[in-house]
Amino acid sequence: MKIIACIKRVPTTDLQPRVAADGKSLDAAGVQYMTSFYDEIAVEEAIKQKEKHGGEVTVLTIGSAEASKEVREALAKGADKGVILVDNAWGGRDPLATAKTLAGKITELGADLVLLGRVGTDRDNASVGPMLAALLGWACVTDVVGLELGDGKGTARREADAGTETYAFALPAVITCQKDLNEPRYAGLKGIMAAKKKPLEESPCPPATSQVEIEKLALPPARKAGRIVGEGAAAVPALIDALRNEAKIL
């Protein structure tokens, strides 16, 4: 089975962002990066499915050449090869442009299964996976918490608002991974050593035409200062009063 896991290098989740002087971009000073949270789950699932069904896992990313650190981490966990489409314009790509570029590369590489995170923890689009599937004309299940593959087909359980939905689909398929799908492993020393010898291809990314123009980036308006209404159960009447008469929501 040919499996591709798409990962993205994003700012760490503890970032307190600052807006750059142009008012339209993120101040890059001091920003640290990581593999997007759900992409770790995509990589883990790719390795698990390979362990079960055999085959090969390719980790694919569009990003700066520095993303080789995140790709090597995935190789250390058990992925077989890495592909970086080098694009230094983090701000320039909208989800459609990303999906188109990934679709092109995936068609070239060939795959039975493509795994992505349910959402990238930078722009919070939650769009690239289902867009990619629509462009390829493949089956796609999003927000997946359980995945079983058989001969040319599979079933996936997805976390939906009302409960859990089970889908049957034919391969090739695109799956976006939700947190409950698995518990990502850590790379061992042996894996880290092995990863150094695994193939990592870097090639320039085809230019993107974005349909998104950033007018302004801003910190959300600060909330009005609140107050402590009191201590212990004795403060409950004061809270009720505030909710009824000030906030008017009770």
């Binding site: 989800p95 442009a97 919070d124 689009n125 939650a126 462009l135 996936a156 947190k179 212990g232 159960a233």
Partner: protein
Amino acid sequence: MSTIVVFVEHAAGAPRRGSQEALGAASALGATVVAVLCGNGADAAAAQCGKFGAARAVVLDATAWSPDSAAIGVAALVRAEKASAFLASATSSGRDVAPRVAALLDCTLFSDCTALRKDGEKLVVTRPWLAGKLDATLRSSAPVLCATLRRNMFAVKETGGTAAVSKGPALGPGKAVLEKIEARAGGKLDVAEAPVVVSGGRGLKEAPNFALLEDLASAFGNAAVGASRAVVDAGWRPHSEQVGQTGKTVSPQLYIAVGISGAIQHLAGMKTSKVIVAINKDPEAPIFKLADYGIVGDAFEIVPALAQAVRKIKAQG
């Protein structure tokens, strides 16, 4: 502004609340609103779309739910209507279908928007980045502006109109097909949808103590129970209840955080709530910096008293 097509989800013969909000958002932009509904049994809900601002409602019949075939049918309708925008609620189905519709139209998608504004004939959207740590104001050069709307951010408009209902072409067979739904226990409200959310953290000490929060939620009647990641990771609560950067983003009328310290990843998921209440025994807990009202003290003492007080008020009407 010409025509806006709105993807309307339905349950029990009525448009879902998030879809009502999306219809409201579309009609607030002064457009001709066309609702599109998929699946058998959508006719009753279609007829009701007029009440929320739709001029017309188109039903695409299907024997089984498939997001890929739904997207093909909806995209074809958007094209046929020559719509200038396509909107859906950012529900689990909306987020599943809308990106596909957008891609089929060769358009990008603005997901989970918190505001939409008209600027001449163009739309300007606001949506959070970095889990709400930044607000991005964006414009699009896409031929059709495609967006999903965060729930509880757009008003439902009861216009009292009627929509002309018609049938579109039935949906084709899908590549991924829904086989089974396991509903959440007891028909509970989803945290992302509930007008009141009562969330608990590690301060509740152990899983059975969440009964206190369940009781407070039932006192409100329209509340859902949420959780911090610490208690989800500990296995006390399901991930579907987790609020935060790697859980759900919620914007209820009232959010009550009990025994939650207020880590940045948690705040990202709830700070657009209308009113925030924090109950924590540590007066220095970061959650108090964000809360409108706080009570310092022991949750085990405060929560039952609060539940009792809320019941009393609800009983008075």
